[in-house]
């Protein structure tokens, strides 16, 4: 039997990836449209970018979003890494079943429910809604994603690694920081990035938990989009897509380069 791609497979790839990418590409192309009518091409222009960048409300929202995403990603990474360690290293402790349930449930929980429930909590304890409540909410759901990413990395490393460090005289804490942490570092970094983009992305949970003066960029975009498609929003969206894409590509290229360097070391040392 022939291995490799059949015409059917090639069609599936071409069709599938076109479906995934054409809408975003069209969005990007039409952000450079001269006309205010987004769907009628009237020549190349970058004026909508200038307009978007000088729109103070939009830029204010972007700044709020950046701060929220940064802080919540950092805290979520710490908590999520702890949670992953708890799940992998301590297989027996009281309430472990409930714990793992609370880690996996938010991954699929409808956002309206998460958003509503957190809001009720903040109201119940008398906390004013604002940037802090959005950060707390984002930490809560993104830490679970971090936990899952770090957990799969932890599961793939040799458990005797940390034992070996202890056997050689390292206390459990030192063994963790000098052996385990460097090994899982790429997964922790990936977890941070995931938490950051999840927070950058979130609309519904922020909508429920944000208050005056804490309008995030997705909230701003959503309120404008409901009024209709504008080239200005296209420009903002393109910028956002560009930032995230660049981040992801740089991260994977760095990893790739490390891999290539390692391979090269391997080749030279074998020679």
């Amino acid at each position: 039997m022939k291995r490799g791609l059949t015409p059917f497979n090639i069609t599936a790839l071409v069709f599938g990836f076109s479906f995934l990418y054409v809408p975003i590409l069209l969005l990007i192309i039409y952000s450079f449209n001269e006309s205010r009518l987004v769907t009628v091409w009237a020549g190349f222009s970058t004026k909508w970018y200038a307009e978007a960048l000088s729109n103070e409300a939009l830029m204010g929202a972007a700044w709020v979003t950046a701060r929220v995403a940064f802080i919540s990603a950092c805290v979520a990474t710490v908590l999520g890494t702890c949670a992953a360690l708890a799940l992998v290293r301590f297989t027996r402790f009281r309430g472990r079943f409930l714990f793992s349930g609370m880690i996996y449930a938010p991954l699929v929980m409808p956002e309206v429910i998460t958003g509503l429930s957190l809001l009720l909590l903040f109201v119940a304890v008398g906390m004013d809604r604002g940037i802090t409540t959005v950060i707390l909410a984002h930490i809560t759901f993104s830490m679970c994603f971090v936990a899952v990413v770090v957990q799969s990395r932890l599961l793939s490393i040799d458990p005797s690694m940390e034992e070996a460090a202890q056997d050689l005289g390292a206390t459990p804490a030192r063994a963790f920081f000098s052996v385990t942490l460097p090994i899982i570092a790429p997964a922790v970094a990936a977890g941070w990035m995931l938490a950051f983009t999840l927070s950058l992305d979130d609309l519904v949970i922020a909508q429920f938990n944000s208050g005056p003066g804490a309008t995030t960029l997705p909230m701003k975009i959503f309120s404008q989009v409901r009024l209709g498609v504008t080239p200005e929003i296209n420009a903002v969206c393109t910028l956002l897509v560009g930032v995230v894409t660049a981040g992801v590509i740089i991260a994977s290229l760095t990893m790739k380069r490390q891999e290539v360097k390692r391979q090269r070391d391997l080749a030279t040392s074998a020679a």
Binding site: D158, S160, M161, E163, A164, A165, Q166, D167, L168, G169, A170, T171, P172, R174, A175, S178, V179, P182, I183, R262, D265, L266, S269, A270
Partner: protein, 384 residues
């Protein structure tokens, strides 16, 4: 590794056990039990190991040998009993404070550190000065003949080289006791055999007590001064390799180490140290023994394949038993015959014949009628 430092000396401190002026055991397990929930991994086990001994724990997987070793390293807590190292109870001492180092089955080399950093890891934990660490690492690298590999990462090494790094790392702190958990399991056969001799030599030169866990009986026989054979959390027999092989104390040990033929029978009498066994079909075998089983009890006549003789004629054979050649395996240096004995039940015996002549003109063939013989002093009587 370095050239062998002369033949091995006689070393049998355990023979003095219980006598006046006997050496104190270096390690002592006193009635140690380990439970995992309802499962008993180690069952009321007592064992003494002496300084400078090369000690092997041998048994099938799940027999508790790894648990025993991990309790010594400090990774498993003892459920009952105590473990003493140089007379001191070490139960409760965390692994990082024990003068014991371990070489892991997976080697557990730190992938993000160079070979030199791996070997120096333990010394760094002790707060040794950097210059001293470098000197010690260089010494260890030359000990395992990896002088030029200090800057490599573990994934840039071959399996054999990794094994050496793991060994060097666990020896760098000059532990009083080195634990080796299936240390050669990942190596291919030829390299494994070479490394076994290197381990023996290293142990002699460094004067460190070695304890190896293995399921490979040949490996245990090659390296160890004494072997403990384990079965379901208990030690069945502790003896030097030759004793374990020649004088197994049970069918379990006899079967686990090497090949054995077992013939079951009832003891009909013992005279002048020779026991007579009557088999189910009425045939009788005699065996020299110092055991005194009661008449009528069940016992086994045990003989290794190389202790049996096979012939077309009955004359001159001791303990003659008739049978038919069932299978023949030509193994180069020797030929193994599988013979189906006459009588009830499918009782087979295996006979090893050395191929000392170039051309065996009298070669036996399939389905040929033969006689099996065995000197009563070459066989053993097993009562359990």
């Amino acid at each position: 590794m370095a050239a062998p430092s002369g033949p091995r000396r006689t070393f049998q401190p355990w023979l003095a056990e219980g006598l006046e002026g006997a050496p104190t055991p270096f390690i002592e397990f006193r009635n140690v039990t380990k439970l995992y929930g309802a499962v008993t991994a180690v069952d009321d086990l007592s064992l003494s190991i002496y300084e400078r001994e090369f000690f092997a724990l041998l048994g099938p997987s799940g027999c508790g040998k790894t648990t025993l070793m991990r309790m010594l390293a400090g990774f498993e807590e003892v459920s009952e009993g105590s473990i003493h190292l140089e007379g001191q109870d070490i139960v409760g001492v965390p692994p990082y404070r024990r003068p014991v180092n371990m070489m892991f089955q997976s080697y557990a080399l730190f992938p993000h550190m160079s070979v030199a950093k791996n070997i120096g890891f333990g010394l760094k934990q002790d707060g040794m000065a950097k210059g001293d660490i470098d000197a010690k690492v260089a010494e260890m690298l030359s000990l395992v003949k990896l002088e030029d590999y200090g800057n490599r990462k573990p994934d840039q090494l071959s399996g054999g080289q990794r094994q050496r790094v793991a060994l060097a790392r666990s020896l760098a702190k000059q532990p009083k006791l080195l634990l080796l958990d299936e240390p050669l399991g990942a190596l291919d056969r030829k390299l494994r055999e070479e490394t076994q001799f290197e381990l023996i030599d290293l142990q002699e030169r460094l004067g460190i007590t070695f304890m190896i866990v293995t399921h490979d009986q040949e490996e245990a026989m090659t390296v160890a001064d004494r072997i403990a054979v384990m079965d379901s959390g208990k030690i069945v027999q502790v003896d030097p390799p030759s004793v374990i092989y020649e004088e197994p104390n049970s069918r379990y040990v006899a079967d686990f180490l090497g090949d054995i033929n077992l013939l079951e029978g009832k003891v009909t009498g013992i005279t002048k140290g020779i026991a007579t066994l009557e088999r189910a079909d009425g045939s009788v075998v005699k065996v020299v023994t110092d055991k005194t089983p009661s008449t009528g009890s069940t016992a086994w006549f045990a003989a290794r394949p190389e202790k049996l003789t096979i012939s077309r004629k009955k004359t001159g054979l001791k303990n003659p038993l008739a049978g038919e050649v069932w299978d023949i395996a030509y193994l180069g240096g020797r030929t193994l015959y599988k013979v189906k004995l006459d009588g009830t039940g499918d009782q087979f015996v295996r006979v090893a014949v050395l191929n000392s002549h170039g051309d065996e003109d009298e070669t036996l063939t399939w389905e040929e009628r033969v006689w099996i013989g065995c000197d009563p002093s070459a066989a053993r009587l097993l009562t359990r």
